[in-house]
Symmetry: C2
Subunit: 452 residues, 2 copies
């Protein structure tokens, strides 16, 4: 039986970052990573395999950083864990003894078993597996009529990419009033839908899939709630992900209501020396203070760094403060991003809020070539002015602008501080100093505070 100080199950972003950070802190310890496939995919890059990237291999992510740091990798599956004797057994029949065990098993797509016809040939998912996506890419290449079910980030991005092929008819079906409704409040989500409709995507909202229709065992059409029938030779169901926590459940770890492995703020499970990190682990919302099931590689890596530093001793007196949920995407060259509590989140969690808004362009003057419109919202606590969320729609700078709001939320910056913060501006890179969007949105919020 082999012996390792630390065994990490899973080689996605959280597994790799836990490993690399953990090894740096504990160079004298032995680290093993057990993962199912040699090659993995950069999770957020998967939609771009379908068009923008020349080849799927460009989106490959291997365990190289972990191996370079000094870790060992085994391509295998864990089948059994005895948490008392600290022995795990793999599918290939190897037994390992560990001192610390990390679940970084990620998430798996939700299969829509509740939709009749979900099991027809030609109904596919966005599995985060290299070979599967490679095969799916070949199928999309051949398909002429593709229906994407689910207008979340992955669904929208996959549909946007596929719609770039002029010979394909791509439909996107979302049951909520708007796509991306989990991440954006109504006015911003409506803008995103406008952008989606301006592409070749045939978008259906407030409309669910009633049935997937087949012929000789293969999908041929999709029937919507309102009676619309859309022909299809390929259906991609992208209705969400759930924690990959069966193994953890099987070996006695407690799960939360979302089937995520219960962990504390240092990623410790209820069993000593066993940790869970990333999509498979539980978390609470930084603002809402209650269970949050958001799965983001950026959140997973934040957790993984905390775990990596604190695996043996609490070295970094900074535990995981709860999920901020910073989303960003780009549809047809227009970026959308949100951070923290949006209006629905605040409303649903019974959090009082006011909204500061501002709209401008992302260069100054706006007549400069390459200028994009920029629309920003700050969600603010009405008693003390603390920034609790934000949403942005704009050009390329949106991706980092949302991270300013993210940092502001995490440092509990108020709008009163924000309006006098010094910022850097440049004609070709940002809005004008006299009307820098974040400051103007904060001023707009202050005007409402004064009235309130």
């Amino acid at each position: 039986m082999k012996n390792y100080d630390v065994i990490i199950i899973g080689g996605g972003p959280s597994g790799i970052i836990t490993g690399v950070t953990g090894i740096k802190q504990n160079p004298e310890k032995s680290f093993l990573m057990i993962k199912g496939e040699e090659k993995e995919l950069v999770p957020c890059g998967i939609p771009y395999v379908f068009h923008d990237l020349d080849d799927i291999s460009q989106n490959a992510m291997g365990p190289k950083p972990f191996i370079d740091a000094g870790g060992e990798v085994l391509i295998d599956y864990v089948r059994k864990i005895d948490t008392k004797t600290k022995i795990l057994s793999t599918e290939k029949g190897i037994d390992f003894h560990f001192d610390k065990l990390v679940f970084a098993t990620g998430s798996v797509p939700v299969i829509p078993t509740f939709i009749n016809g979900y099991d027809l040939e030609g109904v596919e998912y966005i599995l985060k597996k290299y070979k599967y996506i490679e095969t799916l890419k070949a199928k999309t290449d051949k398909a002429k009529n593709i229906i994407v079910i689910g207008g979340g980030f992955i669904g929208v991005e996959v549909a946007e990419q596929l719609a770039k092929y002029s010979d394909k008819k791509v439909s996107l079906v979302e049951m909520e009033k708007f796509c991306l409704y989990y991440a954006f409040s109504e006015d911003m989500a409506a803008r995103a839908d406008e952008v989606i409709r301006a592409t070749n995507i045939n978008l259906f909202t407030s409309n669910a899939v009633k049935q997937i229709l087949g012929e000789k065992g293969h999908v041929k059409a999709v029937l919507l709630d309102d009676g619309t029938e859309i022909i299809a030779d390929l259906v991609i169901a992208s209705i969400g992900y759930k924690p990959n926590s069966n193994l953890a459940r099987y070996c006695g770890l407690a799960l939360d209501d979302n089937s995520a492995i219960d962990v504390d703020r240092y990623m410790r499970t209820g069993i000593k020396d066993i940790f869970a990190v990333g999509d498979c682990s539980s978390a609470i919302g930084f603002i809402t203070g209650r269970s949050d099931s958001v799965m983001l590689a950026s959140t997973a890596t934040a957790e993984a760094r905390i775990l990596g530093y604190n695996l043996y001793h609490i070295n970094l007196l900074r535990n995981f403060q709860g999920i901020i949920s910073i989303f960003s995407t780009e549809i047809n060259n227009i970026a959308f991003a949100s951070a923290g509590a949006i209006e629905q989140t605040a409303h649903n969690a019974n959090i009082s809020y006011i909204v500061g808004k501002f709209e401008d362009v992302d260069r100054h003057p706006g007549t400069l070539p390459g200028t994009s419109k920029l629309f920003i919202k700050l969600i603010v606590s009405p008693k003390n002015g603390t920034i609790i969320g934000g949403e942005i729609c704009g050009g390329k700078s949106t991706g980092e602008l949302i991270n300013i709001i993210g940092l502001a939320i995490q440092k509990r910056v108020t709008i009163y501080e924000l309006i006098s913060f010094q910022i850097g501006t440049h004609p070709l890179l940002t809005t004008a100093p006299t009307k820098y969007v974040l400051i103007k949105a904060a001023e707009n919020a202050i005007a409402q505070m004064n009235k309130a």
Copy 2:
């Protein structure tokens, strides 16, 4: 004699923002702005008048936001101020009584009177005046051999714009080892110089102008320290700006060593009810704790918001914390930005520091179209890990990425906090979550802390 509650001298960014913010806080007060020209220029947009903008009118900035807020504007010059009776007289011979007076008189170019030939015809400056720049633009259109003296931001940007005309020979002369040496440490400044040299600009560094040579009163060449003689039909001297503080001095206000009007952290001069804001006023460095002569519209507007809120009473318990100096620019589509203390600043102010570095691409995977290289440096206090500065070179996202560092400096974020901050990432917008540049630079700094 007319009477106003508040009179603001100057209509640049600091004058307008002081006025607009002040009116919002004191809608019952009367506000007058006295400015020399109806039309002004967006200061940072001036270089782009020479090429990227179709017409100078696109870079115009008027007092409209101030007038819309309820302020009145007089096109005139202030000639005399009696601070005891609170009466000022204008060039047109009008007398005004004020309750509060704000100097927002900005800055003027330093004229290189120490260079022989500075007064020849064909030697021009980047004055922030509409008609002057309009005329200068016409002169650059005709000129074939243009020499820009001074490789600061304005000099580099003007040279970069002029060099886009294939029929012009543009030379840039900088006496320091590198251009932009005030804002970037050696390795980053060297990169900027590389980018400058890749344009059509003929760049001379570590070389000063010894003499401007003329013929019949008109410039014909420039002689450098090393003996090089460059022919020229137009010379643009851009060797810096100085506070426009003569009027203030004349009416008895104290100036600092840089000729800036001495103010406290609420922008109050030594005389009751008289304020100064923006380029014409003194400031200390947020990190260095001592006098800083940086002039930036973004800093000026931050001061102006503080003054606008606090003009009558200290309403906003947030005074000006000192200058961070957040610079950004773009040369030949590559952005450069810095914030806070760079290496020279720290060294000169006897501040201990370590530098965390990281280099990557600004999208993930880096094979996506439109990807730019990204290089980042964090300047960090070695005792507690507080971030005191940063430098970035990269693509469009650089403009807001530097503002994340700016916020981190102002909120005194440490590298230990930064590494576990949640960030938003997206393939088309940012670096990968597993190696987000700011976090990786922080990790790199931590590795040095551990050694130290």
